[in-house]
Assembly symmetry: C2
Homo-oligomer: 383 residues x 2
């Protein structure tokens, strides 16, 4: 009997050694690859496709190429160049954050929410991510001819309720109707405005090595809920969307950290991986994330494995990434955790010097891998 | 030969008498009908349909029922209650106008413009109609999978050019892609923001009997251009869309009239008829329009006759209605006519006491008819 224990111990040690040797070799190879990628990465992505594909809407590499390669250069505005979740404009001395989002989620109702909730929370959250208190929304509906009035009424109610919870007023609207088959039930475009909070001095391109990477909660639940609602695969568990208003958490965070808060991004399309990649590129820094620090529900992990994707690429609608000065990380987490929905807030890694513009994940085995932006569109129309 | 002349004169006189008698009878009948309609009209329209139809997007009666019967009560905000082209919100003492519009025009390119021009001008003009200088836009694209990149690039160029001409900056954007067949090439949602001009004291619900109704130019060209571009009927003439930025004309108007300018509305979906009906209802006044004072191109008139519709119901994208104090009407027209595209600005009628909430048209024969809001959707997807 003890022999078995000993054999087991020996096996473990050998296993560990193999892992270490393998991870050394992997690390050396990775270093060479990273060096090449890093050099390529510094350039602005180009939009070279002949046609629009689903990937252009997925929030990953193709989306970045479309936005940075075509749209931003065409409109050449300082607000756009920052590539934040919202544009900042100063009118008569008042700093305003504005953002817009179209919602084309399918199906329009799913566990934990609906297109109406998303349209309010998604846009209000992008305002909050600019360090601004969301104040007002505009609402534009594109409706498909034949849409049952009850379906529309349910979404109108969802919008009204979500707006009340988020503390925003709907101040203007528009309605268009297109023929049967020219849209999928309904699309909603919301645009938000908020006043930049005096405590916020966010600079998404000013991250410093040593800064801590915080996550406000568990990841991957929204995208998983949508895939399950489509019935495309079976999973003996219900996963609910995490759609929620994030300003209360941002408010607490600003109170706790003030200028020590470097930046905020909500991890929607393309997931946490895309947000971290965009920030790393914008600041010319690297990010190191400890994989086992990232909170993920077992059901979400299971669904991701079934689909062959990384939960870090799955969309969230109520989770944000905050980068803070290391001295304020504990205070920041304590503050955020007091807000309902953010009890699992956690530090997941830190900002590094190199490889510039890249995100590395330290796996449970101590190895490192590159966590790139989403490629293609494995989860279409999740928002 | 002189006899022919005399007979002709006599015939004319008899004709005139018949017209007068007939118009007296018509007038008496009209009075009774008007009385009934007036009583019905005072109530807020109800949204009672089971399904969404194309008419709900046409800018006429069904749209009003959807907006006033469902959306405005659900979102209960003072800005929405005004039912203006834009909502007004005050942030830190600065008065801001915000408006949003989705564009689903078909085809996306047509003589005189494209969906990109419309998306900029349409939204910037709604800001101008609130007496505010348009400053910034957000841009949200819904693209159909498979859309040729060149088609997208052409619209991105059109948006950039129109924004430059209109003097607005694009400060935030969003892109979504839906599967082939889930949208028709591309839809664009723009949201605009502007600062309310200090000279503007607009009150769309404060019209007074005696106020003059001004029109900034010829009507019906945009809607006609779209119908011709679809090839749905033949007309040996090219009609171009009137899509243009209206702030320069509003700027001149405010300079010339100041507080004598009661209100502005651009006559897009549902045409001049819908705008006047909405204003009459909002202020509890009547409107009297002289039909032969309204400038219409012969080709537009011909197209309207072919389609069996009134040019007053046809959409414009560069024409507005201004209601001014009678003492300032001449100065207002002189000012507006100096602006390119507004050379045909003209006074078309005046505000009356009764029948409350209604618009009457004085025909070329001296008779009167009710000019109601558009019913149904004879010209779908024109913006």
């Amino acid at each position: 009997m003890p022999d078995v224990g000993l054999q087991s111990e020996l096996a473990k040690t050998a296993d560990e050694e193999r892992r270490r040797a393998s991870s050394d070799a992997v690390a050396a190879r990775e270093d060479r690859i990273l060096d090449i990628i890093e050099k390529t990465r510094a350039k602005r992505p180009k939009f070279r496709d002949d046609h629009i594909t689903m990937a252009h809407g997925a929030g990953g590499k193709a989306t970045a190429a479309l936005i940075e390669g075509l749209l931003v250069p065409a409109f050449a505005s300082p607000a756009l160049d920052v590539l934040g979740d919202a544009g900042i404009v100063t009118i008569d001395g008042v700093g305003l954050a504005m953002t817009t989002d179209s919602f084309v989620v399918k199906p329009i109702r799913f566990p934990g929410g609906s297109i109406g909730d998303l349209a309010v929370n998604g846009t209000a959250n992008d305002i909050a991510m600019a360090g601004a208190r969301p104040l007002a929304l505009t609402l534009s509906l594109i409706l498909e001819e034949g849409l049952p009035a009850d379906v529309l009424k349910a979404e109108v109610d969802a919008i009204a309720k979500a707006a009340e919870v988020a503390g925003v007023t709907i101040i203007a609207g528009d309605t268009k109707v297109v023929e049967r088959g020219a849209c999928d039930q309904m699309y909603i475009c919301t645009t938000g405005i908020g006043q930049v909070d005096a405590r916020a001095t966010l600079a998404p391109s000013g991250l410093k090595p040593g800064d801590k990477i915080l996550l406000s909660g568990r990841i991957g639940e929204h995208g998983t809920a949508i895939m399950l609602a489509r019935g495309e695969f079976e999973l003996g568990a219900v996963v609910e969307s995490d759609t929620r208003a994030l300003w209360p958490a941002v408010d607490m965070l600003l109170h706790a950290t003030g200028p020590a808060l470097r930046c905020l991004r909500d991890a929607t399309r393309g997931g946490v991986a895309s947000v971290l990649n965009e920030l790393a590129r914008a600041s010319g820094v690297a990010m190191l994330v400890r994989e086992n620090a990232v909170p993920v529900l077992p059901a979400v992990m299971g669904a991701a494995e079934l689909l062959g994707i990384d939960p870090m690429h799955v969309a969230n609608e109520g989770v944000f990434v905050a980068i803070v000065d290391p001295g304020s990380a504990t205070a920041a987490l304590d503050a955020v955790r007091t807000v309902p929905g953010c009890e699992d807030a956690v530090e997941i890694g830190e900002v590094k010097t190199s490889p510039t513009g890249m995100v590395l994940v330290e796996t449970s085995f101590g190895g490192k891998r590159v966590m790139d932006q989403l490629v293609g569109d494995p989860l279409p129309r999740i928002c």
